[in-house]
Amino acid sequence: MTDQPQATKKMSIAEALREAIREEMQRDERVFCLGEDIGIPGGFGGAFTVTLGLSEEFGHERVLDTPISEAGIAGAAVGAALSGMRPIADVQYADFLFCAMDQLVNQAAKMRYMSGGKVSVPMVMRAPSGATTRAAQHGQSPESFFIHVPGVKVACPSTAYDAKGLLKTAIRCDDPVLFFEHKLLYGSKGMRAEKGALSPEGEVPLEDYTVPFGKAAIRREGTDVTILGKLMTVYRALAAAEDLAEEGISCEVIDPRTLVPFDVETVAQSIRKTEHLVIVDECPRTGGWAGEAAAVLQEAAFGSLDAPIKRVTAPDTPVPFAPVMEKYYIPDEDDVKAAVREVLRWR
């Protein structure tokens, strides 16, 4: 982690994101937000309050409410970026990215390449991810789709510190960035609070700082097994590690912070020490990020691995509504513990 400056404040992730946007909008006239219900006076500040108050501060032109037109939003961001602006677009739920897929995959990601490097598309697309008893069309974690799109970067902050620092990096990045935020981590207040939310608060510097892309964070050090998780599953992994410590099992928990670029080396190094790897991910198993990470790491750390890499993921199903089924669907600390015990049986 980069050195933390002096003055800090305890913030939720929603607040940290808002701070990042505010500071960047103050710093750079080209930065603006567009999305649904983000700036309406008396409105929500977006589906999870992140832009609350910003239209009052910066005006409605720079916190631009759009029609319900996700392809239009993404396209507007692409075009505005091409014209020299720095758009921060958002969809209310990550599930709606599928409505904007052509603009994201075929336009945003490829414009630079198709022009032979003559143009660039500095845009951010924010998307709230994760299952929260809203069933199949409002609970997906579609970040894995985007690691398969050459030309976009993918960030996944799990702490308030990272949320602010990564979002600033994303805004300043000259390439398109998909920025996934987990609904249960926001810490949104009041009526927009989420049931079952974890809402980790953290000390966030009030000064300007950035968190670089492609540098994983070791959230807990350990010697017996490496657990790789992102967004919400970082916390599941940490909870499991806590419990397992009591059984005498020492877990190292790593948070990649960005999926593209992905910090293979930090994880590979950890595996060289622990010789075991468990990957925890809320994306459905087949074709998900956990599989990609396993494929890269079985190669990068071959010979060091004492056991097959174990994936703890959501199953290959849509997100169910019933809370009992959803609980089964989402990988939790018990699933992680079982996987850790299983890989350690190979010792």
């Binding site: 008396g42 069933a135 169910p320």
Partner: protein, 325 residues
């Protein structure tokens, strides 16, 4: 235009009461923490769903939105099935897999509601295409909000229905807001039904707070659809009396505006109309409301005493052949 038969009018009244009371109850259950998930209430818009559904035959279909309780109940999903679904029980209309935003029941001609704004429109056109190809004479009503009209899916789905003269009625419930966003901020049109002209189909705007008006317009549109004359875009001017979803304090609109629309509530309006014409008495109307209240209490009992799905049931129903993968 002539009123529907007294029986039908009384049934409409009952249906609107069912929707209203069902939602008042689930909202309460939800606030008490007894019900999981999220809720988009239809309160205030009952005339739209009921007016349209009553223009459909039993084997016709509807497909709803993220705000689908009204659509489903109006077309005949039972309160038991609805309540159990919202309680996430395996006796629910979607066995607890769908929840509030996906209620439906093929047995009553209700597709699982589609909560992607605009996403149900191409699907409705496709179903209508299937009806036409199979010459079944069926019609589908596709509900959407004012916000949905700006989705690309609206454009593609409506155009296809137009060029192939498909038996579908597009019902736009213009409640003046998409979530917090006023409709006049996202379109230059005064009348949303004017979008119909871009597809060469008829468009009509009606008072969505009067179930008889909605019903009349829906009948005409259904007839056109069934006769092979293609789709209609029917705009119903209406209002949701409540927030967009559970976490909405409605600060983006005025209490005056709300009061104005509440004064036009379709439910007492129909009651007054029927009583005025001597079709019924206030007592009979009150009795219907009381019967519905009892029905709803019974549905809660049914739901609460129903079994939950097993956790690992979440692995089912991905594919038709369970062992397929």
């Amino acid at each position: 235009m002539a009123d529907p038969s007294p029986d039908r009018m009384l049934h409409m009244y009952r249906q609107m009461q069912r929707i209203r009371q069902f939602e008042e109850k689930v909202n309460q259950l939800f606030l008490e923490g007894r019900m999981p998930g999220t809720l988009h209430l239809y309160t205030g818009q009952e005339a739209c769903a009921v007016g349209v559904a009553e223009a459909l035959d039993e084997d016709d279909w509807v497909v709803g939105t993220h705000r689908p309780h009204g659509h489903a109940i109006a077309k005949g999903v039972t309160l038991d099935d609805m309540m159990a679904e919202l309680f996430a029980k395996s006796t629910g209309c979607a066995r607890g897999y769908g929840g509030s935003m996906h209620v439906g029941d093929p047995a009553t001609g209700v597709l699982p509601a589609i909560a992607i704004v605009g996403g149900n429109i191409p699907v409705a056109s496709g179903m209508a295409l299937g009806f036409k190809m199979q010459k079944t004479g069926q019609v589908i009503a596709c509900f959407m909000g004012d916000g949905a009209l700006n989705e690309g899916a609206f454009h593609e789905g409506v155009n296809m229905a137009a060029i192939w003269d498909l038996p579908v009625v597009f019902v736009c419930e213009n409640n003046l807001y998409g979530a917090s966003t006023p409709v006049d901020q996202v379109t230059r049109l005064e009348k949303l039904s004017d979008r119909a002209a871009g597809y060469g189909i008829p468009g009509e705007t009606v008072d969505g707070m009067d179930v008889l008006t909605v019903h009349g317009a829906a009948q005409r549109a259904v007839e056109r659809a069934r006769n092979g004359d293609g789709p209609t875009l029917l705009e119903c001017l209406t209002y949701r009396f409540v927030g967009h979803s559970r976490s909405d304090t409605r600060s983006y609109r005025s209490r005056d505006e709300e009061a104005e629309w509440k004064a036009r509530d379709a439910i007492p309006r129909l009651a007054a109309h029927m009583v005025e014409r001597g079709i019924t008495t206030q007592d009979e109307v009150d009795a219907i409301a009381a019967e519905v209240a009892a029905e709803i209490e019974a549905s809660i009992e049914f739901a609460e005493s129903s079994p939950s799905p097993a956790p690992e049931d979440c692995l089912k129903y991905v594919f038709t052949e369970e062992a397929g993968q």
